[in-house]
Symmetry: C2
């Protein structure tokens, strides 16, 4: 039988899988042999049916009446998420956010190894941050090709992001994790994930504003509801 194009797993599911992985790792450490969807759902405030569907999408099977074998789930999730083999990545922009990410050693457990950092600022080039060398930006495309690096992480200011993205593409990179607050223009086939903090913040503050507007009494600093004594 030919390798049929596997039906893509919905993005929301993809983002929940690490939550299951984390929870089940804890259960594993606690020595628990099995779990039910109900229990997983209770721990993460998710619908049990949704948990079941998500696990099914990741190729995990359980047994009626018994539940899921904890070791199995952990193992299969790591398999499915591609955490078994580590992808090498370049990080561009050795500023404060970039440095913070370089310190996240747990990324390696999630299949991501940042092997080099790049920066346009000569003052930063040549340094090491959390053990990772900072190289000059123009070296990126050549090195990326030579090392077959497939993932690029962008942590430069907004204005510089598109230029960096072009360099990454030139270097044959296939996936970009973009922390700069811009939408990148990229050729077909390049995978992008925008981590746009301003967009998240907007959602948060708008919801807060809406919630406060819904309860006007408690809003003002001098409580208007209680008449002065």
């Amino acid at each position: 039988m030919t390798a049929q194009a596997a039906k893509p797993v919905p993005e929301p599911t993809l983002k929940r899988l690490p939550l299951y992985h984390r929870l089940l790792k804890e259960l594993l450490a606690a020595g628990r042999p099995t779990v039910s969807c109900t229990e997983i759902g209770a721990g993460l405030a998710l619908d049990p049916t949704q948990v079941r569907k998500d696990l099914e999408a990741a190729g995990v099977a359980g047994r009626p009446r018994i539940g899921y074998a904890v070791t199995d789930v952990v193992d299969q999730l790591e398999q499915f998420l591609g955490w078994k083999k580590v992808n090498e990545a370049f990080l561009v922009g050795a500023g404060s956010l970039g440095s913070a990410l370089l310190g996240y050693r747990k990324f390696e457990e999630c299949g991501l190894k940042i092997v080099a950092a790049f920066d346009a600022d000569p003052a930063r080039v040549g340094r090491r941050i959390h053990g990772t060398h900072v190289l000059a930006l123009p070296k990126l495309p050549g090195l990326a090709r030579r090392m077959h690096v497939l993932i690029g992480i962008i942590t430069v200011p907004a204005e510089a992001a598109q230029g960096v993205a072009d360099l990454l593409v030139e270097g044959g990179i296939r996936a970009i994790w973009n922390f700069a607050p811009v939408r990148l223009h990229l050729p077909e086939g390049i995978i992008v994930h925008n981590e746009d903090l301003y967009c998240s913040l907007a959602a948060l503050s708008q919801k807060l504003a809406a919630a406060l507007a819904a309860e006007p009494a408690r809003r003002s600093r001098t409580p208007a509801a209680t008449p002065a004594a």
Copy 2:
């Protein structure tokens, strides 16, 4: 007429609004008086109808045949997103990520002003990071109440996050921007936004793995498709 509960704006829409704001700010700077949805959509790779619906949800009106007045849209979006009046926030966890966020001065343009940072580590307490004082964690609840701070930002390690969240709730905080890779257990009515980098990363690397699997020929370092010369 009574203040009817405004129908909540869908989350996806909320997250797109800042994109419009950004683009229109540029057009404003360029002196453009009006824009059409089609043009906005083209600039952001979004469906024109979606743009129209989003703007409508934010209370922006256009004029048939003319389009939207750029100044109007910018203004109304800022109004709707609550960027006109600044919310004060506490940041907890003055590590590398926390420090990076303290340096993001643009947050203030988006209605967020981080007025103090907190840390459990005595070595960090008393310092200033990008001009913001780092205070001792136990002072948080009292100060939050006294200053009527409503937003908390969590940038501590996973293990510490729930404890920090409890302190924030004790301080009367209403919205939490959580960067720690944990699901927090919170009372009803508290707004949370999880910025879980591991979940984003998982989605990215799984997609990359799937894409690579779909084109096996180009995968290996020694191209198998071309027979040896």
